[in-house]
């Protein structure tokens, strides 16, 4: 293998691992938007709280190991999702959508500032959960990178089966496409929306734990960039399409990494959002999105 080839292959591998985290965040985001028919602005904070619970308390403080920590992140973010549901959505049923939009912005600020007050304003260290690597020639693949991609595959496959085969999943898809028709077939729309939102948040929480473990740090304002990256990846893939979100996340990760190589690391976020803007200009429905009602 030539050195140049290995060099770029390495960039792609690292990009895929990072992209897998984006993908998981974007999938959660797509599930929430599909269930609620609404963009939420608290998602980044949900990711942050998942990272805080699983990455900091799970891995660093309680030393639960990565699997229990992922579970902790999932559960914590689920609960945060239920809280957001009660505070932001359930209180104003049938109101104008702007109300939800504004309340999610408000709650986002409360969660972020609250975490700074109660947790810390500093970056907190998260120790390595696994430090091994495989070497294929000169190519390095970290164990944690494989873990991240594995978690993405496991969760998206589970989600796929859940949506396609279970009663609740079927109801969730029905609600995402047409709430009126779903209600008429006897679906408890409100309840299904609550659960859809919680599932989406929980996926974001897991992504947060992975983020903390991969970069060895969690901090209270990490949600800002995380939330926008999730949004960018979801837009890339078609906003509410789950395969689209997965593909969008992975591509975004790889593009960012190649771009960082081309320019410098300061350009990382510029590249990410540049991609989003270009996608919106050229194909607003995203890579796998379709015009109209394509939802989860």
């Amino acid at each position: 293998m030539s050195d140049t080839f290995v060099y770029y292959a390495q960039l792609v591998v690292d990009g895929l691992a990072q992209g897998a985290i984006y993908a998981l965040m974007a999938i959660g985001f797509a599930v929430i938007m599909g269930s609620l028919d609404l963009v939420t602005f608290t998602y980044g904070e949900v990711v942050m709280l998942g990272a805080l619970a699983g990455g900091y308390y799970g891995v660093a403080i309680l030393k639960l190991g990565i699997w229990l920590s992922l579970l902790l992140g999932f559960a914590a973010a689920w609960l945060v999702g239920m809280f957001i549901d009660v505070v932001c959505y359930r209180r104003w049923p049938g109101g104008p959508p702007e109300v939800w939009l504004i309340t999610t912005i408000g709650i986002s600020t409360v969660l972020k500032s609250g975490s700074q007050v109660l947790f810390s304003t500093e970056q907190e260290f998260v120790p390595d959960v696994m430090d091994g690597m495989w070497e294929i020639g000169d190519l390095r693949v970290l164990h944690i990178q494989v873990l991240i991609i594995g978690v993405l595959f496991f969760l998206s496959a589970s989600l796929w089966v859940f949506l396609g085969k279970t009663r609740l999943g079927m109801q969730l898809r029905a609600v995402s496409m047409d709430k009126t028709a779903a209600a008429l077939l006897g679906v408890r729309v409100q309840r299904v929306m609550t659960i859809g939102n919680a599932i989406g948040c929980a996926l974001g929480g897991v992504a947060g734990v992975l983020l903390g473990a991969y970069y060895n740090s969690v901090f209270a304002i990490m949600g800002g960039v995380a939330g926008i990256k999730a949004f960018a990846a979801a837009v890339f893939g078609g906003l509410t399409s789950i395969p689209g979100a997965a593909l969008g996340g992975l591509l975004l990760g790889v593009l960012e990494n190649l771009g960082v190589d081309l320019f410098s690391s300061g350009w990382r976020d510029i590249i990410g959002f540049g991609v989003m803007i270009i996608v919106l200009l050229i194909k607003p429905s995203g890579l796998l999105g379709r015009k109209g009602a394509e939802k989860i």
């Binding site: 589970s158 859940f162 079927m170 029905a174 028709a181 209600a183 077939l185 006897g186 729309v189 379709r290």
Partner: protein, 257 residues
């Protein structure tokens, strides 16, 4: 035929501000009947349906379904009791296939959990078999068998309407409300629809249908209620309604006699 009133309204009123969309309507539907609701545009037919299925809160009066007072029940409660409807504007799950649309209608009976689906347990296989077999049967009833794997949005208009009825049937309703099922259909499609409605009726379900296609109404209905400007102006079999001076006046503007 039984004389049980499966559906009954007592002095049902729905007002929008000063507009009396439905005004003190007393009507009932007998179990096993195909019951028509007709009237000129703006007579309050769809508004009446919306109140029956919990989409509108009535201003006054009560609604009874199988003797239970369901006034103001949310839609899903009415559906649980066995009341389902189709819409004037088609409300299918557009990007699902025809068979998937019908399977959503079955969601009540599904017991599969995520673990069942992953490990393909017996419960999962039974659910799959039930929904697929019964789903295909329903599609056949509505003459939709060949469209099972087509995306709903890709189907011709008349076919989409029949699919909507098939989906409603999946929830196994005792009373089916159809809102202008023949709207926009050509005569051949209407004839097919008429045959489908008769088959459903023969299967023991009660059907209430709003329709502008008079030939269809006269053909399939056992009893007909005529509304005009929110008021019930006539009720009876096709013959009675056809010759009622009030009905003729409502449709033609003045007495034909």
């Amino acid at each position: 035929m039984s004389e049980e009133r499966i559906l009954e309204t007592r002095e049902l009123s729905i007002h929008f501000g000063g507009l009396k969309a439905v005004d003190k309507v007393d009507m009932w539907v007998l179990r096993g009947h195909v019951h028509g609701i007709i009237g000129p545009n703006g007579a309050g037919k769809t508004t009446l349906f919306n109140a029956l299925t919990g989409f509108l809160q009535p201003t006054g009066g009560r609604i009874f379904f199988k003797g239970v007072d369901i006034t103001g029940f949310p839609s899903h409660r009415a559906a649980e009791l066995g009341l389902c409807r189709s819409f004037q504007n088609i409300k299918l799950f557009k990007t699902m296939t025809a068979i998937e649309n019908v399977r959503v209608g079955f969601h009540y009976r599904l017991r599969t959990t995520l673990l069942d689906a992953i490990f393909r347990t017996r419960r999962f296989r039974e659910d799959e078999r039930l929904t697929l077999e019964r789903g295909r049967e329903l599609l056949e009833t509505m003459r939709l068998g060949q469209y099972a794997d087509f995306k709903a949005a890709k189907l011709p208009y008349g076919t989409q309407r029949r699919l909507e009825i098939a989906r409603a049937l999946a929830s196994d309703p005792e009373l089916l409300l159809l809102d202008e099922p023949a709207a926009g259909m050509n005569p051949a499609e209407t004839a097919e629809l008429s045959a489908c409605i008769r088959r459903i009726s023969a299967g023991g379900r009660t059907i209430v249908v709003i329709e502008h296609d008079m030939r269809l109404i006269m053909e399939i209905c056992d009893r007909i209620t005529v509304l005009n400007q929110g008021l019930k102006i006539c009720e009876g079999d096709a013959e009675t309604v056809r010759h009622d001076p009030g009905v003729i006046q409502a449709y033609l503007g003045r007495s034909a006699g």
